[in-house]
């Protein structure tokens, strides 16, 4: 049994350290390229070289942020005693880097439906569930517009009539979201809750979101599973498949039924799904 406890701890810590080292190398390399372009900027075609230098500087910043996130995770993993209930989450470090305990990462499909979620704590996960269930919220908006979305206080309830009041009832007063941008598309959003009044919080969030997109979710060293921390809502999808057969409806409609039930019962979609799977909840009429 002891073999299972904390399984993979040292392996994952070592993996994170190696990724950090490679990210630092890439950062150094990009910084060297930036310097080279800055020297060239002083000669022919100055503006273009300056443009390239700026791109390399941003790239270096990205890799450096990524290295720090990996190092933070490696440290947490090494310090972890192996109790599964307190297994470190990669997202904890992401939240910390943004100056808050609560951060949520959502990967979305082209229709902005949630495909994969990861969060640092209970409030951020609850907020993510609300977006999933209600189909509106800051991650959705940031992903649609490709721009950061910020709202606080009353503005939260005005902007999202269903999600807003539900979010503030969790005690959350401010939300800040940055899109996960790639060239020509957006693969999701990073949201932080109650980040406080730190200087440049929105800028920090954008840098962290870019670092996650370019080096953690995509790229040669990518791990979109976030060290097994990503949740694909497998049991909700399974329950939707079951319900579509029982209720003789399309799977999208079955999914909508599960979400509606979760909202009216004040339960997580996973809790509703588990009851459908074990047969204790019948949502199909006549079944």
């Amino acid at each position: 049994m002891d073999m299972v406890r904390g399984s993979g701890r040292d392996v994952q810590a070592e993996l994170a350290r190696r990724r950090a080292a490679r990210a630092r190398q890439r950062a150094e390399y990009a910084a060297a390229c930036a310097e080279q372009q800055e020297i060239l900027a002083a000669s022919v075609g100055g503006e273009l070289h300056q443009h390239l230098a700026d791109a390399y500087r941003r790239s270096a910043e990205c890799h450096l942020s990524s290295a720090r996130l990996q190092e933070a995770y490696a440290e947490r993993m090494t310090a972890w005693a192996g109790d599964e209930t307190s297994r470190p989450r990669f997202m904890t470090g992401v939240a910390e880097a943004c100056g808050t305990p609560s951060a949520a990462l959502t990967l979305m499909n082209a229709d902005h439906g949630q495909l994969s979620v990861a969060s640092s704590d209970e409030p951020s996960r609850a907020a993510q569930d609300l977006e999933f269930v209600l189909g509106e919220g800051p991650a959705h908006d940031a992903s649609v517009s490709g721009r950061p979305v910020a709202a606080s206080g009353r503005a939260i309830e005005r902007r999202w009539p269903a999600y807003g009041p539900a979010l503030t009832s969790l005690g959350i007063r401010e939300v800040l979201t940055a899109p996960l941008r790639t060239e020509g598309s957006c693969i999701g959003a990073l949201a932080v809750f109650d980040p406080g009044a730190g200087p440049g919080t929105a800028d920090t969030l954008t840098v962290i979101a870019d670092a996650l997109t370019r080096t953690v979710l995509l790229g040669p060293d990518a791990d979109p599973e976030l060290y097994d921390g990503a949740d694909h809502r497998d049991c909700v999808q399974q329950a939707a498949g079951m319900l579509s057969v029982q209720a003789r409806c399309r799977v999208q409609d079955a999914l909508a039924l599960i979400k509606a039930r979760a909202f009216t019962d004040g339960q997580t979609p996973e809790a509703v799904a588990r009851r459908i799977i074990d047969g204790t909840l019948k949502l199909a009429q006549g079944s």
């Binding site: 598309s185 693969i187 995509l218 579509s244």
Partner: protein
């Protein structure tokens, strides 16, 4: 070789990806490099090969179709000035195509190039961060040597294009990776939904449902996700597992 500075500047803008809305894409940049370097250097023809990864098949562009076919064949033969230059990362200086060196080193390339009306060749490396990623091949038909300022300007064009080409390549690679990630995640969703549908239809456990799906896909040589999608849409029932 005299060129008005404003023309030169506009060429650099073009090679940096400017001049048109949206990202230009690697093929467009390669075509621009061959076209503009032929004009600026006043040579008979130019060609470019570009292979950003060591495993990538080189992409080829040329200022005329005959030369493009020759360079494509040269890649298959693994011979010719472009091949040598791309491999070594070193400039290949002015070489007469009817000379002994050319005919011995490039027994297939040299005669074809001569038939296309080219008498001399030189090749300049396209330099990437970690080594050569391609070559710019200059083909001349006059006795004017491919040396001095002409080679220097050619190398500047190649260096400038290299930066844009590599960035554009990175952008394209990123786009592919994003699409692959979304695809993988979406596949996972439909497979879970199909598992659920089968558990409801045949009173199976989710694991048994997956075994049925995988077994059906294998025995019918079909993609698991395709089978799963048809199950979810109610168009296919792979049935219960056989005892």
């Amino acid at each position: 070789m005299t060129t008005a500075p404003h023309h030169l500047a506009s060429v650099f803008v073009e090679l940096a990806g400017g001049g048109a809305p949206g990202p230009p894409g690697v093929p467009t940049l390669l075509a621009r490099l061959t076209e503009r370097s032929r004009e600026l250097l006043a040579v008979r023809a130019t060609a470019v090969t570009f292979a950003p990864g060591s495993r990538d098949a080189p992409q080829v562009a040329a200022s005329e179709a005959g030369v493009r076919r020759l360079e494509q064949d040269a890649i298959a033969w693994q011979e010719g000035p472009g091949h040598a230059c791309r491999r070594s990362g070193r400039t290949l200086g002015d070489t007469p195509l009817n000379g002994t060196t050319a005919r011995q080193r490039w027994p297939r390339y040299a005669p074809r190039a001569l038939r296309l009306g080219c008498t001399r060749v030189a090749a300049l490396p396209i330099r990437g961060h970690l080594g050569p990623v391609g070559s710019l091949i200059l083909l001349a038909s006059r006795q004017t040597p491919l040396t001095g300022d002409l080679m220097a300007l050619g190398q500047s064009l190649a260096d400038f294009a290299a930066v844009t080409l590599l960035r554009e390549h990175e952008v394209e690679a990123g786009r592919v990776l994003a699409a692959q990630l979304e695809h993988a995640l979406a596949n996972r969703v439909v497979i879970e939904q199909a598992k659920g549908a089968l558990t409801a239809r045949h009173a199976l456990s989710p694991d048994a449902a997956f075994t049925v799906l995988r077994g059906y896909a294998r025995s019918h040589q079909r993609l698991l996700t395709e089978v799963a999608r048809e199950v979810v849409e109610g168009r296919l029932d792979p049935g219960r597992p056989r005892e």
